[in-house]
C-alpha cells in the first residue's frame, strides 16, 4: 500500500506546488455560479428553484476543467512510461491519481458549494443533501473522467475530445444528484437517489481503473 500512498502524495504535492489546478477549479465554480443571478435575474424564488441544477452542472464542468491534465503531464515528460513499469499495477495507480484529483478538484467544490447555495437562496432543507450528493457524486466524476483523459492522450485538441467522451457519461450522476437535492426540498425521500449515486460510485470504482489502465497501455505502446 505504500507505493499507492507515495503516488497520491506526489500528485498532491505537484498540485499544491504548481498551485494552478485547485485554485482554478474553485474560481471557475464560484464565478460561473455568480453569473447566474445576473443572467436570470435576482428573483429569489426562481433562483431557489434552479439552484440544485446550477450547482450540479457547474460542479460537473469545473471537475472536467482539470481532468485533461490528469495523465497528460506525466505522459509528456516520460513519467507515465516509468510508472507503467512500476511493480504497483497500473489500475491501482489510476485509482491513486483519481483520489489525488478528487482531493484537489472535488473536495474544494464540496466545501464552497453551501456558500454558493446561500447566494442562490437554496431552501434550508437542501443543504445537507447537497453536500452528501456531491460527496457521493464527485468521486464518480473523477473516475469516469480518468477513462476519458486516458483515451484522449495523444489526440490533438484532447480537451475537446475529453468533453465529448465524458459529458454524456456524467448525465446519470447529474440526474440523481439534482434529484436528491430537489427531493429533499420537496419533502420526499432522498434515500433512493443517494443509493443510486452510491451505486454509480461503486461501479465506477471497479470499472474505471480497469478501462483507464487499458487505455494508458494503448497510449504507451
Amino acid at each position: 500500500m505504500s507505493a499507492f500512498r507515495l503516488l497520491v502524495l506526489r500528485d498532491l504535492r505537484l498540485a499544491l506546488r504548481q498551485g494552478g489546478d485547485a485554485a482554478m477549479v474553485v474560481a471557475f465554480f464560484v464565478l460561473t455560479v455568480i453569473l447566474f443571478p445576473f443572467g436570470v435575474g435576482p428573483e429569489a424564488d426562481l433562483l431557489a428553484r434552479i439552484a440544485p441544477g446550477i450547482l450540479w452542472v457547474t460542479a460537473l464542468l469545473a471537475a472536467l476543467l482539470s481532468l485533461e491534465r490528469l495523465f497528460l503531464a506525466d505522459w509528456e515528460d516520460g513519467s507515465l512510461e516509468a510508472l507503467a513499469l512500476m511493480p504497483l499495477s497500473l489500475e491501482a495507480q489510476v485509482l491513486a491519481k483519481c483520489l489525488a484529483h478528487w482531493l484537489v478538484a472535488g473536495l474544494p467544490l464540496i466545501v464552497v458549494a453551501p456558500l454558493l447555495a446561500l447566494l442562490l437562496h437554496l431552501d434550508a432543507a437542501g443543504y445537507p443533501v447537497l453536500v452528501l450528493s456531491l460527496l457521493l457524486g464527485t468521486p464518480t466524476l473523477s473516475l469516469i473522467g480518468a477513462v476519458g483523459a486516458a483515451l484522449s492522450l495523444g489526440a490533438r485538441r484532447g480537451g475537446v475530445l475529453l468533453s465529448l467522451l465524458v459529458l454524456p457519461l456524467y448525465i446519470p450522476v447529474l440526474i440523481f444528484g439534482v434529484a436528491a437535492v430537489e427531493a429533499a426540498i420537496g419533502g420526499f425521500g432522498v434515500r433512493p437517489h443517494l443509493l443510486l449515486l452510491g451505486a454509480l460510485l461503486a461501479g465506477a470504482l471497479v470499472l474505471a481503473p480497469v478501462a483507464a489502465a487499458a487505455a494508458l497501455r494503448q497510449a504507451l505502446e
Binding site: S2, A3, L6, L7, R10, R13, L14, R17, Q18, D77, G78, S79, E81, A82, L83, A84, L85, M86, P87, L88, S89, L220, E221
Partner: protein
C-alpha cells in the same frame, strides 16, 4: 554474435527468440534473437530508425512483440508481467523529472515506488549530492539525465534497460555510469543499452539491429 533463432530459452538470464516488432505499418525487425546471461551486457547498435528503442520497449514489456517470446530464467515473461516489471529498470528518452519537485524528492519518489531507499548513495554516485535540494527546473539537460540514471542505483533491480543513456552526459558522468554498470554486473545484474558512442565496459556483446531489419512493409 547473436545465436540462431530457436524456440529453446536458456535456463538462466534474459533472452528473446524470434522477436518481431511493428511500428504502425512498418515491420521494424523480425527473427531477432538475443541472450543475456547473469552479469552480461548487451549493446544495441544500428543507424537511426533501426529499432533499438523499439527492441528495448519490447524487452521492458511496454510494447507487445508482433511475434516471438521473451524469457527470464527459462520461463516466458508473458506468464507474469508484474514479476517482469518488478525486476527491471527502464530509462527511456525522457527523464521523467518534474520541474517543481526537488532532486532528492524526485529520486525518493521513483525509488520508493519500487521499495528502494538508497537515495543519498545514488545521488552521490552520479555527482548530484550537492544539488539534492534544488528544484529540478534549475537542472541542465545533463544533470536531469544523471538524475534519471540515479534511479538505477536508488532501488535494486536485476535487469537494466537503457535507451541512449549517454545523451547529454559529460565524460565524468559517463565514467560514473560505467562504474555503476560494472558494479551492477559484478553482483550478477544484466544490462542492455542502445548507444552510438561506446561505453567503457568489458565483455560487452553487441547486437546489430541492421542484421534483422526487414524491407518489406507488411
Amino acid at each position: 554474435m547473436s545465436p540462431p533463432p530457436s524456440p529453446a530459452l536458456p535456463a538462466s538470464g534474459f533472452a528473446g527468440r524470434g522477436l518481431a516488432c511493428r511500428r504502425g505499418e512498418r515491420l521494424v525487425f523480425a527473427g531477432l534473437a538475443f541472450s543475456l546471461a547473469p552479469g552480461g551486457a548487451l549493446a544495441l547498435t544500428g543507424p537511426n530508425g533501426s529499432g533499438k528503442s523499439s527492441l528495448l520497449r519490447v524487452m521492458a514489456g511496454l510494447t507487445p512483440p508482433e511475434a516471438g517470446v521473451l524469457g527470464w530464467d527459462g520461463a516466458s515473461v508473458r506468464q507474469d508481467p508484474a514479476a517482469h516489471r518488478a525486476r527491471l529498470h527502464f530509462i527511456g528518452h525522457h527523464d521523467a523529472v518534474k520541474p517543481v519537485l526537488s532532486v532528492a524528492e524526485t529520486l525518493a519518489f521513483w525509488a520508493g515506488m519500487r521499495g528502494g531507499r538508497a537515495v543519498a548513495p545514488a545521488l552521490e554516485r552520479f555527482g548530484l549530492a550537492a544539488l539534492a535540494d534544488w528544484p529540478c527546473r534549475l537542472l541542465s539537460a545533463g544533470q536531469r539525465r544523471r538524475l534519471a540514471l540515479a534511479r538505477l542505483v536508488a532501488s535494486p533491480a536485476p535487469l537494466w534497460l537503457l535507451d541512449e543513456p549517454l545523451t547529454g552526459l559529460d565524460s565524468d558522468a559517463i565514467t560514473d555510469l560505467a562504474e555503476a554498470i560494472a558494479a551492477h554486473r559484478a553482483a550478477g545484474g544484466l544490462v542492455a543499452y542502445s548507444t552510438h558512442a561506446p561505453l567503457p565496459l568489458d565483455g560487452v556483446a553487441t547486437l546489430s539491429l541492421i542484421d534483422f531489419a526487414t524491407r518489406a512493409a507488411a
